[in-house]
Amino acid sequence: MTCSRLIAVAAALIIPAAAMAETIEGEVDFTGKPPTPGKLHREADPFCAKKTMTDPAVLTKNGKLENVWVHVTKGAKEAAKPPSDTVEMDQKDCMYEPRMTTAVVGQKIVAKNGDPVLHNVHTYLGSSTLFNKGMPNDKAAPIEYVAKEEGMMKWKCDVHPWMRGYIGVSKSGLQAMTKGDGAFKIDNVPPGKYTVESWHEKYGTKTQEVTVEAGKPAKINFKYDGTEKGGA
């Protein structure tokens, strides 16, 4: 078999497979009255007190909800290969930055301290502590952790109780986080039936079933009205 034939055969096998991978996309609507973000009481630490901040737990804009983790909970056939890049969780101005992000099981997560004050990084999966380590100041060595289980990894600083961060960890990698426009897009979804869950730190979870067909993106929307309770 000549080289060009080999390439042709490989292309014939790979291209349809790639073409079959679709997306699940949509938006997360917030239909209720958006709550007014309360002031965070950060006065106990003089460094943190220098900046006034409001609670970023609920961020809405034009009826869309930010920071919602949308992920496939059932239907994914394969575990994703962990990406080689690391997920960073920084501590800046006594806040976690980013507030919410995603990782894949097996992926390296790095915690940094960008502040000249002590933070302890206390992480949980459900009610279990994953690690709890102090980072005395911005010269502290980063903490490295490899995500082992899927679920919502919660980050807390016990020194500054208002500091909260979240990393949604997925085995399949079929996940996304909504941005300011409330939109999400889960890429590389093979055709099939899936259960998709949305998770918000204050309003909890909602689930939907979706069927992904070859050749067209599957669309689903989630809706919160602000009366939901749950989450972290």
């Binding site: 106990a44 002590l118 459900g126 016990d158 909890g204 309770k229 749950g230």
Partner: protein, 343 residues
């Protein structure tokens, strides 16, 4: 039977207090968004934080049932079965109104005023029933039931109002009061010996105050506002800082007041008594030293679950120790000759 059941209730209450500590320290307080059910069910899927929170509720239910049995037993012994029936009615009124209020609050975010009035009526009925109870055990058991119902109500309010600090502190304070009542019932007042009780009362009050102070530190998030030891930000009482820093340091400073009081009162009692009372008196200083060590560990481990929960457990044991000492002693002058067996 009453003593054994009271001892079981006291032991179960210690477990309940520890479980409550685990709820707080694993952030599981709002894992069940509704109350008294959890996700609308009496037995939700027991996973993660839901399992932690619901286990706490189930233990609380067991403590409540023990208390009901205690009321029935003590009032039957006093031939006041009718009063037990009245207490059952008042309990049903309080529980029914609370559960209804919990359901309405969860569904509409409004607390029905009628439910509040009904609960108040139920408690008035309890107060009336206690005043009619003949025996001390009956009064204590009825009071314990009243306290445990109030405790459940506070537990509900913590969920429905999403962990308000005052209610959380009251929730712990009430659980400690219930523990004291259960211990006094378990020990009984049959054989008391003469011992100086003033120091015991003073120390018990100081221990209770320190527990409330600790709960306030915990629930206002002041547990790690000072992470250096023994000073805070380089000073014993730093100036120009947020009140939370002073709250934290007040808890530390008052620990030494409690330490002093515990040594003083336990030595006074140990000198004038023997047997179990002397043993209980000697346990107290050991507990308070362990407690201070656990407080330090809580800080240096950044509030790891084990030391912070053990800190709560030892606080409960110390208070229970003083409740037992108070139940087993009488002021020397007031001890009847037939009962006085002063060492």
């Amino acid at each position: 039977m009453i003593r054994r059941l009271s001892a079981a209730a006291a032991a179960l209450t210690v477990v309940l207090i520890v479980a409550g500590g685990v709820v707080t320290n694993t952030d599981s307080g709002l894992a069940c968004p509704d109350w008294p059910t959890c996700f609308g069910s009496a037995m939700p899927r027991m996973v993660g934080n839901v399992a932690v929170e619901h286990t706490h509720r189930l233990i609380a239910t067991a403590v409540g049932l023990c208390t009901v049995a205690l009321v029935v037993l003590t009032l039957r012994r006093a031939r006041q079965g009718g009063l037990a029936g009245a207490l059952a009615g008042f309990s049903a009124l309080i529980l029914g109104a609370s559960f209804w209020a919990g359901h309405v609050k969860h569904a509409t975010d409004q607390l029905p005023l009628a439910a509040v009035v009904l609960v108040a009526l139920g408690y008035a009925g309890f107060a009336w029933s206690i005043s009619r109870t003949h025996e001390t055990d009956g009064k204590l058991a009825a009071a314990a039931l009243m306290v445990v119902l109030f405790q459940g109500l506070l537990g509900g309010l913590t969920v429905l109002y999403r962990l308000p600090t005052l209610v959380l502190v009251m929730h712990l304070g009430t659980s400690m009061l219930f523990l004291c009542l259960a211990v006094v019932l378990a020990v009984g007042r049959g054989r008391v010996i003469a011992a100086p009780r003033g120091p015991l009362w003073l120390t018990a009050a100081a221990v209770y105050l320190q527990i409330l102070l600790g709960a306030t530190v915990r629930h206002t998030g002041a547990g790690l506002v000072c992470v250096d030891l023994p000073f805070c930000r380089g000073a014993l009482w730093p100036a120009g800082v947020h009140p939370m820093v002073h709250l934290h340091m007040a808890h530390r400073a008052f620990a030494f007041v409690v330490l002093g009081l515990v040594f003083w009162s336990s030595l006074r009692v140990a000198r004038s008594s023997g047997g179990l009372i002397r043993a209980l008196a000697f346990i107290a200083p050991a507990l308070v030293v362990i407690q201070i060590a656990l407080g330090i560990l809580t800080i240096v481990t950044f509030k790891e679950l084990v030391p912070v929960t053990a800190h709560l457990l030892v606080a409960a044991l110390l208070l229970a120790d003083y409740a037992a000492l108070l139940a087993m002693t009488r002021e020397p002058a007031s001890v009847p000759l037939a009962l006085g067996v002063s060492a």
